[in-house]
């Protein structure tokens, strides 16, 4: 394998992030938090004195919902959609090994999506700053902190969806089902399993970085046992990202492409 092929793979992957319908879908998703912020600003102006929790907009919308959906769109688009469309074969028949193609999907796409997410977070706080109550509680480091946490979550989710895209024929069902049960329902249940979800550990990172680890209003439902420490959350997210990345690379090495028609 030549270094020029590896470089081309990185460039080509980056180019695909900013093209096609997937980009528009990501833009629409990432525009939701600033739009909700704008709506809240308008409401706050009408009803002066009403507390507006802008952290909730970035925290819950950006990290909890928007990130998962954005990562899913890109994870599916770069793997199974390209297999279905018949374009994956061109890339997999190049001079780069298949594991490197899967690696590039995650390591090239994550920072670019994180940049888009940062823009969304910055826009949200920019709009929040013009409200009568302003941005509460935290200083200018808020955007950097949120962006960092978002990048970590994006990497884990993207690695998972890339793995699903290469490993499962019905990857959309697997991806949506897993995320729905494990990431949306499980964190809402008062069980120990919530400590093994990406969304919970992402929240822990965020709380330690912004609220000195205090639960605050974001963990009203978490009672009866200790939430993970910063170190435990970091370890969980690192291991999850590495595990799904490795599984994705192995799945790419073993994925047969039967063609768009799947026939003979």
């Amino acid at each position: 394998m030549s270094s020029s092929a590896a470089l081309a793979l990185i460039e080509f992957t980056a180019r695909r992030v900013f093209s096609g319908k997937r980009l528009w879908a990501a833009i629409v998703l990432l525009a939701i938090p600033p739009l909700v912020a704008a709506l809240l600003v308008a409401l706050a102006r009408q009803r002066a004195g009403t507390p507006v929790h802008f952290d909730g907009i970035t925290f819950n919308l950006s990290l909890y919902l928007t990130l998962v959906l954005t990562a899913m769109i890109y994870g599916v688009a770069l793997t199974s959609s390209e297999i279905e469309d018949g374009t994956a074969g061109y890339v997999l028949l190049g001079a780069c090994p298949r594991w490197m193609v899967a690696l590039a999907h995650v390591l090239v796409t994550s920072p670019l999506l994180a940049a888009l997410t940062t823009a969304s977070i910055a826009a949200t706080y920019g709009i929040a700053s013009i409200s009568p109550v302003g941005v509460p509680e935290r200083g200018p480091s808020v955007i950097a902190t949120d962006a960092f946490v978002a990048s970590v979550a994006l990497t884990v989710y993207l690695a998972f969806f890339v793995f699903c895209g290469y490993a499962f024929k019905h990857n959309m069902a697997v991806s949506i089902g897993t995320v729905l049960v494990w990431e949306f329902i499980m964190p809402a249940l008062p069980t120990k399993f919530m400590n093994y979800t990406v969304v919970m550990n992402t929240r822990i990172l965020w709380l330690h970085l912004t609220q000195q680890g205090e639960r605050g209003r974001w963990f009203r439902g978490v009672v009866g046992f200790d939430v993970p420490t910063y170190a435990e959350a970091s370890m969980f997210l690192s291991v999850a990202a590495a595990l799904f990345l490795t599984l994705g690379m192995v799945a790419a090495m073993n994925r047969s492409l039967a063609g768009r028609e799947g026939g003979t």
Binding site: S4, A5, F12, A95, A258, G259, T264
Partner: protein, 308 residues
């Protein structure tokens, strides 16, 4: 030891409970070889295994003496033109070929020059800077061939490259594919239309329902096909006028109009008919949008071969 470029040994491929390739053992010599069989015969599966996109369920395949699965050196020696259109529709044709060259390790300058040469070779330079999404069927076929040959592949796998093209494009592509052999490349080209393969090569491999039925010279199968009327589907905006002209032609046995812009012609002299069709269309001044051959005539031959 033979000089086969592709060698398969007891190759099997299952899709769930459906068998796509059934105990296929064969050797394909250098030069152009036609892979012939009706739809669903296993041609695409065989090609995809040989190119390294599919893993066989059992058995082995060697291309130039090597296993093609996850083999980067094999990727650089071979070029693949898939049957179905799979493109980044937002990309220009030039960018598409250039990117694929770069993914095969070419520098920016080499990729730029290589893409230009390949597009020139398939006569697509005029449309090279247009988005692929705006391309006609014939242009898409040319682009797929351009990307397959751009990196100087020594072995080309062309899966139904002539399907859906108009007579003019078809003739050009046939000339182009034949020129690859003169350059020392080997070509495995698939089709379900005997006439197309016959125009390209005498060496054929026949598949039917996942099994290898016969290999060898096309002339042996040719005598069989003449016993069965050959069906040709023609698309034209002036289908009725074209039908009226065709029915008077001595090469045509029967003409029907199954749809508004579509003709179904039955002929026992396909060679002459394919030569006459452009002339008749030209005399009428009507455009032929697409010519294709349903595989029912070939199916009849395969029935004969498999039941004898």
């Amino acid at each position: 030891m033979s000089d086969a470029v592709i060698r398969a040994d007891r190759l099997n491929k299952w899709y769930g409970s459906v068998i796509a390739l059934n105990d296929v053992s064969l050797e394909i010599p250098p030069g152009i070889t036609g892979l012939l069989g009706p739809n669903g015969a296993g041609k695409t599966t065989f090609m995809r295994i040989a190119i390294g996109l599919l893993r066989p369920s059992s058995g082995a395949v060697e291309v130039a003496g090597e296993d093609p699965w996850n083999n980067l050196a094999h990727n650089l020696r071979t070029g693949y033109c898939p049957e179905h259109d799979g493109f980044y529709e937002w990309m220009t044709g030039r960018a598409f070929v250039r990117w694929l060259l770069r993914l095969r390790g070419r520098s920016r300058a080499e990729a730029r020059d290589g893409a230009h040469r390949a597009l020139e070779r398939v006569r697509l330079l005029d449309a090279a800077d247009r988005a692929v999404g705006t391309y006609s069927r014939g242009m898409r076929q040319r682009l797929k061939i351009a990307q397959a040959l751009a990196h100087d592949a020594k072995l080309l796998f062309l899966d139904e490259p002539l399907t859906g093209t108009d007579p003019l494009v078809r003739a050009e592509l046939i000339d182009l594919i034949r020129s690859f052999e003169r350059e020392g490349r080997s070509v495995l080209v698939s089709s379900h239309v005997l006439h197309e393969i016959e125009a390209l090569t005498r060496s054929i491999v026949l598949f039917h329902r996942g099994r290898l039925v016969a290999t060898g010279d096309i002339h042996e199968i040719r005598s069989l096909i003449d016993r069965h009327p050959h069906s040709v589907s023609v698309r034209s905006s002036r289908a009725r006028e074209l039908a009226a002209a065709l029915v008077r032609d001595e090469t045509v046995a029967e003409v029907s109009i199954p749809a508004e812009r579509s003709l179904l012609v039955r002929t026992r002299r396909p060679d002459e008919f394919y030569g006459r069709l452009p002339q008749i269309a030209l005399e009428l001044g009507c455009e032929v949008e697409e010519v294709s051959s349903p595989d029912d005539n070939l199916e009849a031959v395969f029935r004969y071969l498999t039941e004898r």
